[in-house]
């Protein structure tokens, strides 16, 4: 059962990693506009905008 001493910290660490990722994504505003985000993923923005063209 010694393997538990490795597996439990690994399980907890992975869980904490997920929690941290969630809190980070929340903080960076990724949950502010869920409806919009769904559409942005499939939007065609291949054409570079004026700004990018100038750069």
């Amino acid at each position: 059962m010694d393997v538990l001493f490795i597996l439990i910290p690994v399980a907890l660490g992975l869980g904490l990693l997920g929690l941290g990722a969630f809190l980070w994504s929340m903080k960076s505003g990724q949950f502010e506009d869920l409806d919009g985000a769904a559409w942005r993923a499939i939007m065609d923005d291949d054409e570079p905008s004026e700004d990018q063209r100038r750069d």
Partner: protein, 738 residues
């Protein structure tokens, strides 16, 4: 609305590095394509550094280099793209609710993380308990569970703990009291078990309970935020600004929140007043229909009091402000939403009524269990453990979700059909309504005026008058514009504010406006107006001027709504502040027998009190300031979005659009939702009826507790979702008006 003449400086905030920021509510965004169009269009403007449209709440955040772009240019660019944008008052954007929502989301994440990890350990213990787990391993697992659960419960449980604490301090009981008690007892008992090396720990049940309940609260809060965002957008759309005289004599358009009592503001003809005050200079006619329900105009001059929400018809006014920011839509809605969240009105919400029966019953059962086991000869530890197990298994997971889950689904459905709820428990009260009382002016009738009889004059003449009206900003002109048939405005048309518009078409001079503007003597003008109509005069060249009668007509679907309500067995009534003849005309058209005209606000309340005495639950639908007390006094109330601020704030719900059908939809959805709430409460009762005997007899293990709690939560949530299915079926027959 022209924005070029508006000073938008007060809507802009500096964010540092020479960058300025402005938030706008955008009208007309229907699809994702609009989002791309606006963002690309704006980022094409040199100087604009960022443009991002939030598709959820239809708000646009724009940033630009200060000095390179003027805020007015941003608004102009958006209207060039085909949308209307209205800047947000940065002082008014609500932050508290967003913070609360983030707090709940974090709590949910923490509880979710803890629940998953503890469950992992618990499953091992459960299976180990029936096979060959060593006591050492079990203790280790319990200790790890405790280390995860203690901080998680301390953090995620705060909303419940503080609410329960407040309730107890006010000597009342709400649903959070048994929840808090259950969670704390489960934690305490599990800790004791852990310390003493016992077999049963309930860490998983405690954390899972918090997780389920937080999900419910979070969804509830999110729904409320969406409603609030919509209300804020509407406030921006209404353009809550006033033209203020600065000390140096110049004028500047500022948001109403920046106006203080004692300031002087300029109100142009055709503008709606955004403040209360006393007229200093200027005479005019005031349309007070939003305030009193009276459709005839009132003369006003220096020294007269004027009120926010009234319409200045004919002359420019300088007004000394007596009340301003407190009284704007946003403030009232904000106050009301806060009130709805924290305070429970005299009527106890369904969930709390359930809690009042529930809490004493459960606590008595636990006490009896303890006593019973002692009497039966068990030692006191065993008796206490069993009693606590009773409290844990009856902890109102299903009961705590029973009402909120349905509320979330119902308010979401209402939101989509154009009804914004102000009060949390409005759904329950809508379902109880058995009498509908309508105000007439602005509620049964359209808030916008319309031409009474389009056939009274030759069609081509009306079309020319309508084309001319396109160049006017006066509210009466709006009645005519519908008859323009898509024609372009006449080039070179000029408006004299408050008097009329004139233009030359094919060498003939056309005039549209007041009687005096068209050269009609006032005696003749007075005779041309009958009933509660108003007249706009129209003259072509030298031929005599003709009056065009204008009045506020009934809403397009008013009769359908009356018929639909009638079919649902509701008693209908009209209470109006307008003259009796005008009320009779509308009531006869709609076939409503019970009608009262010429009522004061107090008179309306007296009638409502009378109905209450008869045991009636009244749904009041009204928009005027004179309706506000009645809206607050009624069992439940609704206002159209065109209503004055105070009325919207007093009403439980606001409906959008120029149709009245949302009244029927609100009742239908709420009745369905109420049935689901009752089913959920009965189910929760049934669950306890089955679970309590098992717990009393001492058969409850953590595994049984976890299974029972999660399955009952899932069942009430699924039942709440059934409302959505039923609403889809409802939408089909109700579609007659949609």
């Amino acid at each position: 609305m022209g924005f070029h003449d508006r000073d938008l400086g007060s809507f802009v905030t500096a964010v540092g590095d020479g960058i300025e920021h402005m938030d706008l509510a955008v009208e007309g965004v229907r699809c994702a394509g609009c989002m791309a169009k606006i963002e690309k269009g704006l980022s094409g403007v040199p100087g604009i550094t960022r443009a991002r449209l939030n598709f959820t709440n239809r708000r646009l955040a724009v940033e630009w280099r200060a000095g390179v772009v003027a805020p007015g240019e941003v608004v102009d660019k958006i209207s060039e793209l085909g949308y209307r944008a209205h800047p947000f008052d940065p002082g008014a954007a609500a932050g508290a609710e967003a913070a609360e929502s983030r707090r709940l989301m974090k709590g949910m994440a923490v509880a979710g993380f803890a629940a998953m990890n503890i469950m992992l350990l618990s499953v091992s213990v459960w299976s180990g308990n029936v096979t060959d787990i060593t006591p050492e391993t079990r203790d280790l697992f319990h200790w790890i569970s405790a280390l995860i659960a203690i901080p998680a419960v301390a953090y995620a449980g705060q909303p419940f703990f503080s609410s329960a604490f407040h309730a107890l301090r006010n000597r009342s009981v709400n649903m959070d009291v048994p929840i808090t008690l259950g969670v704390l007892l489960a934690m305490g008992m599990s800790l004791v078990e852990t310390f003493t090396g016992g077999r049963h720990a309930y860490f998983d049940a405690a954390v899972m309970l918090l997780f389920f309940l937080l999900v419910g609260r979070f969804l509830d809060m999110n729904m409320r935020r969406r409603t609030r965002a919509q209300a804020e957008n509407l406030a921006a759309l209404k353009g809550e600004t006033a033209v203020k005289f600065l000390p140096d004599g110049t004028t500047r358009a500022v948001p109403v929140s920046a106006i203080d009592p004692g300031d002087r503001v300029l109100v142009a003809a055709g503008e709606r007043l955004s403040v209360d005050g006393v007229i200093e200079t200027g005479t005019t006619e005031i349309d007070q229909s939003l305030i009193t329900g009276e459709t005839a105009y009132a003369e006003a001059g220096p020294g007269d009091r004027v009120y926010a929400g009234t319409l200045n018809m004919s002359g420019a006014l300088t007004v000394q402000v007596t009340a301003a920011a407190k009284g704007t839509l946003l403030d009232e809605v904000n106050t009301l939403l806060e009130a709805a969240q924290t305070a429970r009105s005299s009527r106890l919400a369904l969930a709390d009524r359930a809690a009042q029966y529930y809490a004493p019953l459960v606590h008595t059962a636990a006490a009896l269990t303890f006593a019973g086991w002692l009497v039966a000869g068990a030692d006191w530890q065993t008796a206490l453990m069993t009693a606590i197990a009773v409290l844990i298994i009856t902890c109102p997971c299903a009961l705590g979700l029973a009402v909120p889950a349905v509320q979330v689904v119902a308010s979401g459905l209402l939101f989509r059909s154009g009804v914004l709820l102000n009060a949390g428990d409005a759904v329950e009260r809508f379902a109880e309504a058995d009498t509908v009382v309508f105000d007439k002016t602005g509620t049964l009738t359209s808030p916008e005026p319309a031409v009474v009889d389009p056939d009274a004059m030759p069609a081509d003449m009306l079309a020319r008058a309508a084309r001319l009206s396109l160049s006017s900003r006066h509210p009466m002109a709006a009645a005519l514009t519908a008859h323009a048939g898509g024609a372009a405005p006449i080039p070179g048309a000029g408006e004299e504010a408050g008097r009329g518009v004139q233009a030359t078409l094919d060498g003939v001079e056309l005039r549209l406006g007041s009687a005096a503007f068209c050269g009609v003597p006032s005696e003749k003008a007075a005779k041309a107006v009958t009933g509660n109509h108003s007249a706009v005069w129209y003259r072509e060249g030298d031929s005599p001027a003709v009056p065009i009668a204008v009045a506020q007509g009934l809403r397009p679907d008013a009769s359908d709504v009356v018929a639909a309500l009638d079919r649902r067995g509701l008693r209908l009534m009209i209470l109006s502040g307008d003259r009796a003849e005008a009320v009779d005309a509308a009531a006869d058209t709609l076939g409503i027998d019970e009608r009262r005209g010429g009522l004061t606000p107090a008179g309306k309340i007296a009638v409502l009190e009378d109905l209450k005495q008869q045991g009636r639950n009244v749904l009041m639908v009204g928009d005027g300031l004179n309706d506000a007390p009645a809206l607050a006094a009624a069992h439940v109330s609704m206002s159209p979005v065109t209503a004055v601020h105070l009325s919207q704030a007093a009403a439980d719900a606001v409906f959008l659009g120029d149709r009245l059908m949302p009244v029927v939809t609100a009742i239908d959805i709420s009745r369905r939702a109420r049935r689901a709430m009752d089913q959920n409460l009965w189910f929760a009762a049934l669950y306890n009826l089955c679970a309590v005997p098992v717990a009393v007899l001492g058969f409850v293990t953590p595994l049984i507790a976890a299974l029972a709690m999660s399955s009952s939560s899932v069942i009430v949530t699924l039942n709440a979702l059934r409302v959505r299915l039923a609403a889809r079926k409802l939408a089909a027959p109700a579609g007659e008006g949609n």
